[in-house]
Symmetry: C2
């Protein structure tokens, strides 16, 4: 039996940003940040789990299907879940994704502010105030034999990378220079050894998959 | 007849550095920076123009041969040429490469300090104090119908990118996190539009080639 792994699959600009400059509550991906995801939202492999028909089929489909496969839980930062900083309030934000979020699995949201779990369709968001180690422990328990996805944003991914928890890292490198924003690998360096395990060329994106050497 | 183009082909870490942290005169590539070039120095396509026999043949060979083809002149910064900052002195530095440098073409070195041209075998180094536009004009004239390579370091490449002079950009992405050093694309951003034209998987490197959209 293969051990449960911790995985990252993230779209990144050619200059290393996972969101553009001038991020705000209204524009969480920052200036031009949504262009990081143009390649994926056009794909059948992305549209199907979002309940959408049609879509392109190209070399990225197999990459996206592989990235989605065998994931049993996701961890995300509060920025990705959304709703702004501070206490959740009486009518708390329910995420960007409507009543049927595309996760279809347990999601653990890192936050400084306590909140009861939120179930929308077959996705339950659990709000973790105990930090990244506590969130990983809960996500591993929820995922069972499956893997845990670190869904972002950059600060959350960087924290899990920096503490040596990530086993697999896939960069979807987009031909775009954002010039600022949320930078992947900030604060990481030579302590983390990568082994290239696969490169795939696809329209408008290069898929670079690495194993973190331990 | 195809117009002469300005090209960049550069090894870069997965976190976007073309040299590691703590660069010095003794260690111009910085800490672990030499690992950026492990993939290429092992290749037959690199060893042959350096007068060395043997070498590996893999998917990178065609990429390197293509990168070397049709180059008529190179522009480099003083950091790449070496010898430290300040006036050249009476017994000036003659480069890192011995009496038969691997360029075999005119090389233009950006410097603040005047110096007579230096010819070593079939490479002539011309020292340009008039700035990047003057160097490009001289390099274009020397290259004729061939292309001009912007050879580095990062600051020189970033200056030519930022002024819109680069037509083609190839990143040789190495599975390595340097965590600091000379950062490619520093100061560049959304003004520069990239179009992905080719991705090649090779042992220990991913070759990502872009056209700069004008």
């Amino acid at each position: 039996m293969q051990m449960s792994r911790v995985r990252v699959h993230i779209s990144v600009s050619a200059d290393g940003y996972v969101a553009g400059p001038n991020q705000s509550e209204e524009n969480p991906l920052g200036e031009a940040g949504e262009r990081l995801h143009d390649w994926v939202v056009a794909l059948r492999a992305w549209r199907a789990p979002h309940g959408l028909e049609g879509g392109e089929v190209n070399a990225s489909n197999a990459v996206v299907e592989e990235a989605q496969a065998n994931i049993g839980a996701e961890i995300m930062g509060r920025g990705k879940f959304g709703g702004g900083p501070g206490p959740w309030g009486e009518d708390p934000w329910r995420g960007w994704w409507g009543e049927d979020p595309p996760f279809h699995m347990p999601v653990f949201v890192l936050t400084h502010h306590q909140r009861e779990p939120l179930t929308l369709s077959d996705t339950t968001f659990t709000f973790v105030t105990g930090g990244i180690e506590a969130a990983l422990e809960q996500a591993r328990a929820a995922a069972g034999e499956k893997d845990v996805l670190i869904g972002g944003g950059a600060d959350v991914i960087n924290q899990y990378l920096g503490t040596g928890h990530v086993d697999e890292l896939e960069l979807q490198v987009v031909p775009l220079l954002l010039g600022g924003g949320a930078r992947l690998f900030e604060g990481i360096g030579l302590d983390l050894e990568l082994e290239q395990i696969r490169v795939v060329e696809a329209p408008g994106v290069a898929h670079l998959k690495y194993r973190v050497v331990k």
